[in-house]
Amino acid sequence: MGAYLTRRLVFSVFILWGAVSIIFVVLRLIPSDPARLILGSDATEAEVEVLREQMGLNESLPSQYLSYLGDLTRLDFGDSYRQQRDAFELVLEKLPATLELAIVALVIALVVGILLGVLAALRVNRIADRIVSVASLLAQSLPSFWIGIVFILVFARGLHVLPSGGTGTPAHMVLPAITLAMPMLAILIRMTRSGLLEVIHEGYIQTARAKGLSERVVIFPHAIRNALIPIVTIVGLQFGGLLAGSVIVEMVFSWPGIGRLLIESIGQRDYNVVQASILVISAGFVFANLLVDVLYGYLDPRVRLVTR
């Protein structure tokens, strides 16, 4: 287990390096000049040139890249051009808000998704199953920004029951968290339904029934523990989607998290902040998948990692 984890961690470093490298190149492919954006259109060409020189933007791309990587190894992410502060610090400041939103969304998706999936499986091809299946298809197909805007129109503008954006009270959390949870919720419903329908025909379910256990015990835990095994993998992969989705949801609901910081920083060509944000989001994704692999062994003893 220890050796396995070490190997995974080393591998994770390479993944993060890849993510940072791609964003480094892509950012610099976008036309427009950070120095010009900072100084505004009134500044002279000479002034811009001085700033470019100060920011190191006049060096060749490979040498900028190498010096950035060198800084990274010392955990120096550079300063934000706009706020004259350490970029990483700026991102960490926004991290709790994003995590809070992502975790609440994850819990909503897991609880509601699995329960509705079980309901659909137990009522397979009946009316409840049809409704749940169509709803999950809709939730999966509609884009988050649209769902978010409709939620704002209905619940904030129309019914005045929930705030349309910002933070402060738990009520502020409701709309963005549900919007963010939607795509994952939809997938979980479908996975749980099909997983349970597959498992229900297994021999051990017949055994559980033959033991005289109640139908509830046959489903929880006998069937569900087995049906959950593939679901855990999906949750790990979808957690990345959740982080990506938070970028859009945070914009729609003015949620002060990494997503909004990222969009604003891209607009301002604040390279260091964009790179630090991407690094933190990627790290979250990598960590979630590592957690899933460990959990997987816990759920399925057949793949439990052998301790040598």
């Binding site: 297994e202 055994t207 029934r209 033959a210 033991k211 005289g212 109640s214 399925d300 057949r302």
Partner: protein, 331 residues
């Protein structure tokens, strides 16, 4: 048999399938006495397993249902109870083991917990008590190093050990009847004998009845006292096992026995029964065995034979054949 533990009378079961209604059981009658071992024999698709499922309330839902006949256990009419209650009763007084012990054990739970589960959930025992009882049971069925092994998962055991674990689980509530559905089919020959010996020992120890379902006539000869032979959802023959084996009263039984490979005659050709088991969607008119029967006559094509005792055969023996006396010899 007035003191029958389990008595099944004219049981009819229907399945609705994509291709139409089928009736895998069409008038099965049998009885299992207290402490008796009854062998239920027949080819795949003859209705052996469906009989067990019907008793246990395990017919696939919503496709399968009992459409006629009665199942009595002790003095309870099982056919009158909802499946949930049937199962509750069965879990306690009837234990069941299945053909494939690997898929019958839940892969994600420790075997000790699976054996202890009925004790905890059905009897309300505390975890420690239940585990102690589970340990005893696993020890009795011959799992070595139980204290340690009961914390392992099913995939860490061999096929024979898994079946032993299934047996321990089925025995946990001290049932009066054990239904064993092809318990040795998935196992090696040497292990088969061990499992059958274990079942026989347990039966004598606990004075428990066993309904032993199998298509392997060799396996049951030493264990069962009586046999019921099913063919196409009906009883072809029944009687004391020695009588059935030595003086078959139905051409199908005769064919089954002839098809057992004989070890003594190495290299000899097998003698299979001609043709294939009938399709349950279209059982033949008349006697269901007639298309494969070497003695079939005109009457067999038209008239479904009743189960009867052929003149001159043993008192407990019965067969559904019009011509037993004419075509089979008693010697």
């Amino acid at each position: 048999m007035p003191d029958a533990l389990l008595s099944i009378e004219d049981l009819q079961v229907e399945f609705s399938t994509r291709d139409g209604l089928v009736r895998p059981l069409d008038g099965v009658t049998l009885e299992v006495g207290h402490g008796e071992t009854l062998a239920l024999l027949g080819e795949s698709g003859s209705g052996k397993s469906v009989t067990a499922q019907a008793v246990m309330g395990l017919l696939p839902q919503p496709a399968g249902k009992i459409v006629g006949g009665r199942i009595r256990f002790d003095d309870q009419e099982l056919t009158a109870l909802p499946p949930q209650q049937v199962r509750a009763l069965c879990g306690t007084r009837i234990g069941m083991i299945f053909q494939d012990p690997l898929s019958s054990l839940n892969p994600v739970f420790r075997v000790g917990d699976q054996v202890a589960e009925p004790l905890r959930r059905r009897l309300g025992l505390r975890r420690r008590e239940a585990n102690a009882r589970a340990l005893e049971l696993l020890h009795r069925v011959g799992i070595p190093d139980v204290e340690h092994r009961m914390h392992h998962y099913p995939h860490q055991f061999s096929g024979g050990q898994r079946q032993r674990i299934m047996i321990a689980m089925a025995l946990s509530l001290g049932p009066d009847l054990l239904i064993a559905d092809e318990p040795t089919t998935a196992l090696d020959v040497t292990v088969q004998a061990q499992i059958m010996n274990l079942l026989r020992d347990l039966q004598q120890e606990r004075d428990m009845a066993i309904l032993l379902i199998t298509h392997d006539l060799g396996v049951v000869a030493d264990v069962a006292s009586r046999a019921v032979v099913l063919y196409a959802g009906r009883v072809a023959e029944q009687g004391r096992i020695r009588d059935v084996y030595d003086h078959s009263a139905h051409p199908y039984t005769e064919g089954l026995l002839a098809s057992i490979p004989q070890q003594e005659e190495g290299g000899a050709r097998l003698t299979p029964i001609a043709g294939a088991p009938p399709n349950p969607l279209a059982f033949p008119q008349g006697c269901r065995f007639h298309p494969r029967c070497p003695y079939a006559q005109e009457r067999c094509r038209d008239e479904l034979p009743e189960l009867r005792r052929p003149v001159g055969w043993a008192p407990d023996q019965a067969a559904s054949c019009h011509f037993t006396e004419e075509v089979l010899s008693r010697g």
